[in-house]
């Protein structure tokens, strides 16, 4: 029933967003029909069925508003529409469209409420509905939180189905053949006599019709595209160097801007002397901008060189200058009741069960450092300011907010700011930030009529990355009778969400759900379990890093769980299975055991296996990492991943994304940290922050749990379990328990 209600709700929203007025939820703002961004711009004779499909005599365009950061969502969104519209992906143009409130994300609500994402109770659904309404009111078009698939899964197929049925109605009117006798395939309506009426020729007539609504969606067994391997729409261009990223754009009269910003992130420039830079070849202008200077030149390398030649004096950092003081600030937060953000779980009585008199009480402390996002394409944006129009070419995860910021800087109404969202060379959360867009706008405003491409040097990108939250955890638990009985975990991190909301000019109401995400919702039925989140006062500014809070809290929780399992003398997989609190979790762990042929944590001499199971973004994901102890160090040989993600839209892209998530997590857990000295990030380029390279990459075996779980996204959930599973495997192989990332500080890897 819950599922039906969800579909009904989303079905309605499509209608309201596109064509019909509304009667939803009894909330005034939610009743308003959002503007259809295609209607204003649509050429005469074009049929705009809803904000996702545009057909005219020239062709069929599908709008894929979620930003493609490499995760393949442009293809995914197109495939969902194409499945019901009966077109092939090579017949259509796919564009990200203009940013619009109509593309508000229906799925981000799931992660914003204090219920397990796997909790389908009516209370949880009701809370999600309320938050969803807020997001809709804000017109929050956001790509993030692994929400693109759940946001799109119903509404884009619905969009395709509505368009198809309306085209059939137009064909029926034109041919006199009843709709029931019409079929559709490959972008055309098929008449019983074999004639084909291409959609493009029906568009003008269809535009005059009231769109057909309430079209039932096809059951999965009828799918042509979904669930089967697909060729991504971008793969050919990405394999031949033809795909243009934002940083590749060129246009007539364009100049390049490079910035030199205060390396004390967020602090201002005190004064500068640009004499040396101004005399350099190709340099057109040196301009002060927020927190630094911009050099405008005719070539990127010349702009970079000149920016380095500017003599700058910087104000001090608004946070502790040195790393030791950051750690001290984190540690000092524990036990400070004023900093207690929320008690997320409190089952039984952890304090009573782990008292000083219990000889089986275990304690441990863990650390997770700041980490840069460092997507391989550095930040870049092109902005052109004209008298009554501003154009912005950038890849951005929250394009409407970027648009608002540009409008405020150039002093033009938002409606005159046209943002052309680009494919990005990775993001991992980095393109939720705005500096590249706002700085480009600051420069372009001072040079009207000139397209300004602002490119961050890699070193500037690292210095202003807004890294992952820094955090620590303290565990206190107990075992008895060969079983884990009590697990208490206090987690203290800065709030990356609050830091990020602050840069959008918004306060974050209530507790930060990310501090303990992946820990409090561990799917174990423990007699005594308490998870408390402490919010560390803001230090260096931080932001969402692939899998956000669960990347730290998941590491803390599953590392400590493993210590308790070991203390109990139990098997790491068997004990987790015993504790699993629901059937789906048991099935997932059983699948994992079968995949790796589990025979304990030490299957052979010198080989260790570690288990971890973390639920993030509504997706339970369990992993086994297998390492071999060699004389030169630890080698990761295999990773098995079992994930409960619901229907898989494209099994090839699914496997690729899950493997990538594991590589991301392991590479950073082994090798990476951002530390501050003198207020500056010490790691300035990939020589000091490399993630994983191919020679360290294990074989990664991936399976989705079959069955009927709610559909979810998989960009982030494979990340959190990998680091603790690796630490647990190293313990199994060596007896050395590593409680701090990066692990390479404590052990060598080969």
């Amino acid at each position: 029933m819950g599922k039906l209600a969800t579909i009904a709700r989303r079905t309605f929203l499509i209608g309201s967003a596109a064509v019909a007025g509304g009667v939803a939820f009894g909330v005034y703002q939610a009743k308003k029909t959002l503007p259809n961004p295609l209607k204003e711009d649509a050429p005469a004779g074009a049929a705009v069925f809803n904000p996702w499909v545009l057909i005219d005599a020239q062709g069929i365009t599908l709008i894929a508003p979620h930003t493609d950061l490499g995760q393949g969502v442009r293809s995914m969104q197109a495939a969902l529409i194409a499945e019901e519209l009966d077109v092939d992906l090579n017949q259509v143009r796919v564009t990200p469209g203009a940013p619009s409130a109509a593309y508000y994300n229906t799925a981000t609500a799931d992660e914003s409420v204090p219920f397990l994402s796997t909790d389908d109770s009516w209370q949880a659904d009701a809370a999600r509905g309320a938050v969803g309404t807020v997001i809709r009111m804000l017109g929050m078009q956001v790509t993030g939180g692994s929400t693109a698939v759940p946001d799109s899964f119903v509404k884009l197929r619905q969009a395709g189905a509505m368009a198809r049925e309306t085209l059939k109605l137009a064909a029926s009117e034109q041919s006199g053949v009843p709709v029931a006798q019409l079929k559709t395939a490959q972008g055309a309506v098929l008449l019983p006599d074999g004639r084909k009426l291409p959609y493009t020729q029906l568009a003008a007539r269809a535009a005059q019709l009231k769109p057909v609504q309430d079209v039932p969606l096809r059951p999965p067994e009828q799918w042509r595209l979904l669930g089967k391997p697909m060729q991504r729409v971008d793969v050919l261009d990405k394999s031949t160097g033809r795909l243009k990223y934002g940083i590749d754009l060129a246009m007539d009269g364009m100049l390049i801007a490079a910035v030199r910003l205060n390396p004390h992130n967020g602090a201002p420039l005190k004064r500068f002397d640009a004499k040396a830079a101004e005399g350099m070849r190709g340099v057109k202008k040196v301009l002060p901008v927020t927190s630094g200077v911009a050099v405008v030149a005719d070539n990127t390398w010349r702009a970079f060189k000149a920016a380095e030649a500017v003599d700058c004096e910087w104000a001090d950092a608004p946070y502790p200058a040195n790393q030791a003081d950051h750690w001290k600030a984190v540690a000092d937060t524990f036990g400070n009741d004023g900093r207690l953000d929320k008690v997320w779980r409190n089952d039984g009585d952890v304090d009573a069960f782990t008292g000083a008199t219990n000889p089986h009480t275990i304690t441990a402390e863990y650390r997770a450092p700041y980490l840069a996002h460092a997507p391989l394409e550095p930040l870049a944006a092109v902005v052109k300011v004209s008298p009554e129009r501003v154009d912005v070419w950038v890849s951005h995860q929250i394009p409407r907010v970027a648009q608002q910021k540009v409008a405020a800087i150039v002093g033009q109404p938002e409606s005159q700011v046209h943002l052309h969202n680009q494919y990005s060379g990775g993001s991992f959360g980095h393109r939720l930030e705005f500096d590249h867009v706002t700085l480009a706008a600051e420069v372009a405003k001072q040079m009207p009529g000139v397209p300004i491409k602002l490119v961050f040097r890699r070193e500037e990108d690292f210095a202003h990355d807004y890294p992952r939250q820094i955090g620590m955890a303290r565990g206190r638990g107990a075992v008895d009778g060969g079983q884990v009985q009590a697990l208490g975990l206090d987690i203290a991190t800065v709030s990356s969400s609050a830091s990020q909301f602050g840069r959008m000019g918004q306060a974050m109401p209530g507790p930060d759900g990310q501090i303990a995400a992946g820990a409090w919702n561990m799917a174990y039925a423990l007699p005594h379990c308490r998870v408390r989140a402490y919010r560390v006062p803001e230090l260096a500014p931080t932001s969402s890093w692939r899998s956000v809070g669960a990347s730290t809290a998941g590491f803390f929780a599953e590392s400590f769980m493993d210590e308790l399992v070991h203390a109990a003398g139990a098997d790491p997989l068997a004990e987790r299975l015993r504790l699993a609190r629901d059937e789906r979790s048991r099935q997932l762990l059983q699948l994992l055991g079968r995949m790796c042929d589990w025979k304990g944590a030490k299957p052979a001499p010198g080989v260790g296996r570690g288990v971890a199971f973390v639920t993030s973004f509504g997706v339970p994901c369990a992993q086994v990492v297998e390492v071999r102890r060699l004389p030169e160090g630890i080698r990761i040989e295999n990773v098995w991943v079992a994930v409960d993600v619901g229907p898989v839209i494209d099994p090839v892209n699914f496997e690729n994304l899950v493997q990538g998530g594991v590589v991301w997590a392991l590479g950073h857990a082994m090798n990476c940290e951002i530390t501050y000295e003198g207020g500056k990030a010490q790691q300035s380029n990939f020589h000091a922050f490399t993630g994983m390279r191919l020679n360290q990459c294990p074989a990664i075996h991936v399976q989705a749990l079959a069955g009927t779980a709610k559909i979810r996204g998989v960009g982030e959930p494979p990340v959190p379990p990998a680091a603790p599973a690796l630490a647990n495997a190293i313990f199994a192989a060596t007896g050395q328990r590593i409680r701090e990332m990066p692990f390479a500080k404590h052990i060598d890897f080969v």
Binding site: G70, V235, S239, R242, P375, L376, E377, G661, N685, A699
Partner: protein, 152 residues
């Protein structure tokens, strides 16, 4: 200054110390080679000079001797190089930003080592960073390309 890129001669008026990468991207509009680090550590800028892989971000254009080949010159959609075909068939790319460099490094590896071992693949391709983590598919695609080249 004269430069031959993808078989075509070009005349450029730039400082000899300007890295080849920026001559290709900003002066000639050839954007397949990417800027990732500027210090020859990520490999996104990899091109061939007379068939050998070179990090164009750290190669002053004044020191270039020989013909430059970029990903655009390796093969195009209608005539893919065997390595590119394997990359498409196995759908290696996620964001794709590193893949020009990965493909150029793989193509030159297979030129000199037609049947690379796992270790040889690891050693050659470890020079190219992929932040999306497509390494399992990169390994498989190099092997597939080697097989295709032998069959050809």
């Amino acid at each position: 200054m004269k430069l031959i890129v993808n078989g075509r001669p070009h005349e450029v008026d730039v400082e000899p110390e300007m890295p080849l990468l920026w001559v290709l991207r900003d002066e000639l509009g050839i954007t397949g080679p990417k800027y990732g680090c500027g210090i020859a550590f990520c490999g996104a800028c990899t091109v061939h000079i007379d068939g050998a892989p070179v990090r164009s971000c750290a190669m002053p254009v004044g020191q270039v001797e020989g013909e430059v080949t970029t990903i655009e010159g390796l093969g195009q959609p209608e005539a893919l190089h065997a390595v590119q075909k394997a990359w498409v068939d196995l759908q290696v790319a996620q964001c794709g930003y590193c893949q020009s460099g990965q493909i150029m490094t793989a193509a030159s590896l297979l030129q000199t080592t037609p049947s690379p071992t796992d270790e040889e693949i690891d050693n050659a391709l470890a020079a190219n960073l992929c932040r999306c983590g497509t390494y399992p598919r990169i390994r498989a695609a190099v092997k597939q390309a080697a097989k295709n080249l032998k069959g050809a």
